[in-house]
Structures are given as structure tokens and as C-alpha cells.
């Protein structure tokens, strides 16, 4: 089977391509070809089958059609303008996150008009589709009410995905990712950046800034768990989903204090001393509007799994990013 990854140049896209090569199959069928697309041409991956890399912005005319013309059996759609940029640039956010996704959905629908075609489609959504009033734990029946344009765009695409799937144009599943921690790479300016940097930097002896208080609580999964969600979603029998095609992924409900405690257990007290507390009311305000924890019962029943504690998340980071094998 052929697999298309849209957003293949991003952190998760690259990890997904590598994981698919390693798995060699999806849904019991061997992967014969990989198409890796992004707004900048992604790096190729070492693979025994065909690998094609393409620069394609699906919000531009004809680009989604060109990707779909390759008739992939499974499509992972990860591409998006991030939250901060979608908020800063209203038109660009809607063009890329909504119109680009709709262009992809339409290209698939129209490809099916000439000869039967209904690929599996895994769409990465986000827990920021939820907004105030936020209960401490959000359950699967709770109303979606985004507080950002990015959240609105993700929510709208979930609704389109469900309708296109119900119509049989494709077989879609939307997975609402928790905040990814520990993101590899350099510190960035995302409001959520500190959730990764307060662990990532001290683990390599570098300082990090904590802009919120220790009792801030949020919902986390490692990059490794996020990739496992995507592959599990692609393998899933979507009849189990019913009409609700978007599923909140499981995660770890933890406070910043829990993160620091885990860092102390794994890397020692000295590592935690590299975290400098520098309260930033602007960041604290943004984070206060985010969902905290979930009861992700549907996802758990469907077999999605996340980490159980931050010790595990740190060990995943050490293994996957720093090549340090787990000691226990």
C-alpha cells in the first residue's frame, strides 16, 4: 500500500515516516511506497520501497489534487499553521488550516467520482478545540468551544471529516493530540514551549525559564506516544467510532511540579536548579485558558495508550533523542 504524509517536514511528520519504515506495514498490509509532502520539501527516509518527497502547499490550487492523484491508501494529514501564527494572521490561518484541509478532502471526494476511491485518512487535531467554561476533567461528551482561531479551524475540520466520512468519501479519524512533551530541538516562542524546555534543557545541563507557577496542570504525551496514536488510528476499524470521528487522545494529567519532581528523580537535584522561575503574566494568562485534564475513555477503549507518569516521558526522551537507554 501507498502512504501519504502531509506535513512530513515537521517534527512529528519526520518521526512518523521513520516509524512507518520501521513498521513496514499498516493494517497488516506491507507499505510499498511513501509520499512525503510539506510546504518545504521533506528529507527522504531510508526505505526499501519507493519514497517520493514533494514541496506542496495544499492550500494552493491543484496541489491537493496532485497529491491525491497518487491514490494513497492511507493519508496522514498533519500539516498546519501553528496556534500562535493562526492567531496573529487570521487570513493565513484560515487559508492553510481550513481551506487547505478542505481542498484535500475535496480532492479525495472528486478522485472518487471517476473510479472508486476512499482512503483511510488520519487527521491530527488538538485538545485546544475545547474552551471555557473548562471543568477540571473534560469527558468525551463535553461540548467543543474553541477560544482561538487555530482551535476553531481544527474543530471545523473535524466536523468536515465526520461528514465526508459519513458520506463514504474517505474513512477518516481525527485524533486530538495532547500537548507534546518533551519536544526535541531548540527552545521556541510558543506559549507551551516551557512544558518541554524545563525538562529538555536541564537534561543536557542547560538553563530553562519557567514562566508559570508549579501548580499549573495540563495534559501531556511524548512524541513517541503521538506517533503511536497516529499508527493506531490508521490501523483502527473506524466502525468502532460511530458518527463521532474525532477522538481525544489519552494523556498524562500532570502539573509543572510533577514534571520537576520527575526530573529530580531521573537527573538529580542539580538538574532542577537549572530551572529559573521567572513569572510571565502573559504566558500564564494564555495557559489559564487551556484545558487541563481529560477522561479520554473513548480513546482508551479504542486501545490508544499514553505514558503513565513524567518519569516515563523523560526516559522516552533520553532514549529517542539522546540515545541514552533506560536504566530500569
Amino acid at each position: 500500500m501507498r502512504v501519504l504524509i502531509i506535513g512530513a517536514a515537521g517534527m512529528l511528520g519526520r518521526k512518523l515516516a521513520t516509524a512507518l519504515v520501521k513498521a513496514g506495514s499498516l493494517n497488516g498490509r506491507p507499505i510499498s511506497g511513501l509520499v512525503l509532502a510539506d510546504v518545504i520539501e521533506p528529507d527522504a527516509v531510508a526505505f526499501s520501497g519507493e519514497v517520493e518527497t514533494l514541496d506542496a502547499d495544499i492550500s494552493e490550487p491543484g496541489k491537493a489534487e496532485a497529491l491525491v492523484a497518487r491514490r494513497p491508501d492511507v493519508i496522514f494529514h498533519l500539516a498546519a499553521i501553528v496556534s500562535g501564527e493562526a492567531e496573529a494572521n487570521f487570513e493565513k490561518g484560515y487559508r492553510v488550516n481550513l481551506d487547505g484541509t478542505r481542498a484535500l478532502f475535496e480532492a479525495i471526494r472528486k478522485a472518487g467520482e471517476t473510479e472508486p476511491y476512499a482512503p483511510k485518512l488520519v487527521f491530527t487535531s488538538s485538545i485546544v478545540v475545547y474552551g471555557e467554561p473548562l471543568p477540571e476533567y473534560i469527558d468525551d461528551d463535553y461540548v467543543v468551544a474553541p477560544l482561538t482561531s487555530y482551535g476553531a479551524q481544527k474543530s471545523i475540520c473535524e466536523t468536515l471529516l465526520a461528514d465526508y466520512s459519513r458520506r463514504g468519501f474517505f474513512d477518516g479519524i481525527g485524533i486530538r493530540l495532547p500537548t507534546i512533551s518533551i519536544r526535541p530541538g531548540k527552545p521556541n516562542r510558543a506559549a507551551s514551549g516551557f512544558f518541554s524546555s524545563i525538562l529538555r534543557e536541564p537534561l543536557i545541563g542547560e538553563p530553562a525559564i519557567l514562566p508559570v507557577s508549579d501548580d499549573v496542570r495540563h495534559w501531556f504525551a511524548s512524541p513517541r506516544a503521538a506517533i503511536a496514536f497516529m499508527i493506531h488510528a490508521a490501523n483502527l476499524d473506524t466502525r468502532l467510532l460511530g458518527a463521532r470521528r474525532a477522538v481525544t487522545m489519552p494523556g498524562l494529567c500532570a502539573t509543572v511540579g510533577d514534571q520537576i519532581d520527575a526530573l529530580r528523580r531521573i537527573a538529580g537535584e542539580d538538574a532542577t536548579k537549572l530551572i529559573r522561575r521567572q513569572y510571565d503574566p502573559a504566558v500564564a494568562d494564555i495557559i489559564a485558558g487551556w484545558p487541563r485534564c481529560f477522561r479520554a475513555e473513548r480513546a482508551e477503549q479504542l486501545g490508544f495508550k499514553a505514558e503513565a507518569d513524567f518519569d516515563e516521558i523523560i526516559r522516552v526522551h533520553l532514549e529517542d533523542e539522546l540515545a541514552i537507554p533506560a536504566s530500569n
Copy 2:
């Protein structure tokens, strides 16, 4: 102030125009002009101020901009392809119900770029944004999960409305209308048609067909109540809504049996004998997927009011459509 009604040729649009003329003001400000638009040119209404009637399909290029160029202070957006047609014609449904609405929203946003402009916007949505699994009573925190393309389109427009309002491009409110009963006019082929015809026809001595069982339960309001919802929405201080700009309207939770009992009390046993029970499994199946009853607490707290029983709904019909004054 100037008021624009989009969808002014429809049953509710015509009643709304008449009601606005009668009220003479919105939000304490006198209405100086009415712009009545629809895909077919609406009839004018007798009004001391300016009345303009226009045929305009807002899903066509430039049409929404032309309406917005009149800088209405309040916009009622009622125009839509109905549920059955949106299901039968996928492209037309999305073009009119989603792209048309978005074109309107974009026209307003862009009009505000040259000089400040942020009208009040009342958007009529529907309770069919809700889908399975359906609890007997749906509360305001329950997840939206449409089971039709029409429901998906309304839900998406609600999400856009909230985001555009949050951004300050306009001051929007979405009102989810119950099933309207008793709709005036001739029987139509809508699956919900019998909810009106089993009362409307017997009240004038005509037969009507009931295609479902007497215990079917649903959520109703009269046309008069629907118009009152719209006007109340236009007058409402939307700061009371918070981030959730769509509100499920109050209604009457009643069974078909309740409808028939009310008909008996108002028009006598003979009237009920005009209802012919002719079970239609196709209609029964459609109705089975519809929400039944709501706890519309937000709407009630915001001062929206519906009828308390079907006797009242029948009396409203007698007064408003047949000019028969209420006897008690």
C-alpha cells in the same frame, strides 16, 4: 438603524420583516431602513421607513459584499438550503450553507478594514447540530455531533460565528431553532412536515397523514416564538454569552400523542379523526436520529421563551394564520 434580513422571502423571513415593522425599533433604537434579500426577490412590507428588496444569492461572488456595503447595523441571516436538499446535493449544500455564510462573514470583516464596522449578527442554526448518541434530554454542555450535511454546515457556521465574534469583526449570536410547528402553508415533503400537517390540516377540516407512532417525542416552538427568539437575540447583550455564541432555543418537549390530545381539546374529537395513521419506516428512521428534548437552561436564563404546551401552539396558529382570536 438599518436592518438587513437575508432569507427574507421564506416563511420566517417574511414574519420577521413584519414583526420588525410592528416593533419599529431594535435595542431601543428606531429602525429607519429595512433591506430584504433572498435568492428570489422578497415582497416589500408596508413600512414608514425605507424598504429595499433584492434578489441576492450570497454564495455568488460579490453578492454578500453588495449587501454589506449598505452597512446594516443589524443582520439577520436566515438563508439556507434545507436539510433534505443539502443531503441530496452535497456540493450545493456546502456552497450555499457554508460558503455563502462565510462569504457574508468575510464581507463584514473586510468592510471593517476600511472604517470601523461590527454589526450585530443573528444567525439561525438548528437543533440538528446534535447527533447520536442522544440522551433523552440534551443539556447545554453536551457535545455537538451532526448526522447530516445540513447539521454539519450549521455547526461549522456556528464555530465561524464564534471566532469572528471573538475577533470583534461582528457581534454574533447563533440561535438553534426547535422544529417549527405549526408551519403555515401547504403540506411539503420534508420529513418533519407531519409535525405541522397533523394539526394544520384537521384545523381546516382537511385530512392529514401521520407516518410515525404516537410516542415519537420532539422539540417544538411556534413560528411566533421563533420570531420572538430572533428579535430577543438582536436585542441581547452578547457579553452574557461568553465565548459560546450559539444557544439552543427553548421549546416544548412533546409527543405526537400530546399534539393530538391538544388538537382534541381545541378542535374536538372529529378533528383528530382526520389524522390517518400510515406508518412510513423511512420517515420513522429519519426522525429516530433526531434529538428529542433539551434542557435549554442558558437560553432560559438569557430570557428566551417558548410555548408551554401544544394548546398554546395551536392557539397561536389560529390567531396568526386563521385570524381566529383565542377564546380564553
